[in-house]
């Protein structure tokens, strides 16, 4: 039997994250950044949209399950892993800004932030693994996914 309330919650979560990660960056890119091709931010926008699609799917999976269930904990774990890959990709991308009038090429890279972020993300993933085990163990006899 489906729980329509939870399904509705999942659909709302998926649509809101699709709007936030896919529609909004695309609109900003088309409206403000596409007219400056020398900035070269297409790579960033593409990766935000790609990972945003996956994140919204996981958000649906997570929100369509009841609270304190193993599925929700697994959704949290998946989300933290996908966020790690997403930010890793964003931090390691290099954007080169070419200014033709002055013959200056500026390269922007954020690799310096990756160590601190990686540390925090690994701690978060470990915490989510502990949470999955904790929820699995606390279910006891009435264990269900």
């Amino acid at each position: 039997m489906t729980d329509k309330k939870l399904l509705r919650k999942g659909v709302i979560a998926a649509i809101s994250s699709l709007i936030f990660y896919v529609v909004l960056p695309y609109v900003i890119y088309i409206k403000y950044l596409a007219q400056y091709p020398e900035f070269g931010v297409e790579k960033y926008i593409d990766w935000i949209i790609r990972m945003g699609i996956v994140i919204s799917g996981i958000n649906f999976f997570k929100s369509a399950s009841s609270s304190k269930s193993v599925r929700q904990a697994l959704g949290d774990l998946l989300l933290s892993i996908v966020y790690l890959i997403f930010f890793f990709k964003l931090f390691t991308l290099e954007v080169t800004v070419n200014i033709p009038e002055t013959n200056v090429i500026v390269s922007i890279s954020m690799v310096g932030y990756i160590y601190i972020y990686l540390l925090a993300a690994l701690v978060g993933i470990f915490a989510n693994v502990v949470k999955v085990v904790e929820v699995w163990a606390s279910a006891g006899r009435n264990r269900s996914l």
Binding site: M1, D3, A14, G57, F60, A64, L119
Partner: protein, 102 residues
């Protein structure tokens, strides 16, 4: 007003006096003991992120798969929400008690 000492600024300066050496020490410790291990993990992640597909179709397929999985799991494991039973009309004594307590 210039002669007065701003208490917020004073507290901030005191906080920074203690915090900045601590932060420097902590970062040095991390650089020496933790970051070498993180470099290995970063190399693995670098390899993995280069292998990620560059098209949108794969990600849309993952999205559809996750939505289907969530829907099936909801259908399989969740129970239908029970309707609440109608509450019995309260006894007159309870009502009076409730009024008297107010």
């Amino acid at each position: 007003m210039q002669g007065e000492i701003d208490p917020f600024r004073e507290y901030l300066e005191k906080f920074m006096q203690y915090f900045i050496p601590f932060a420097e020490e902590f970062l040095r410790y991390l650089r020496e003991n933790v970051f070498p291990y993180l470099t290995e993990i970063m190399l693995y992640l670098q390899d993995f992120s280069e292998k990620l597909p560059m098209d949108f179709e794969t990600y849309v397929m993952i999205f559809i798969f996750l939505v289907a999985l969530g829907g099936i799991a909801n259908w399989k494991f969740e129970k239908k929400e029970k309707r609440k039973k109608k509450e019995k009309p309260k006894d007159i004594s309870e009502l009076l008690f409730g009024v008297s307590r107010k």
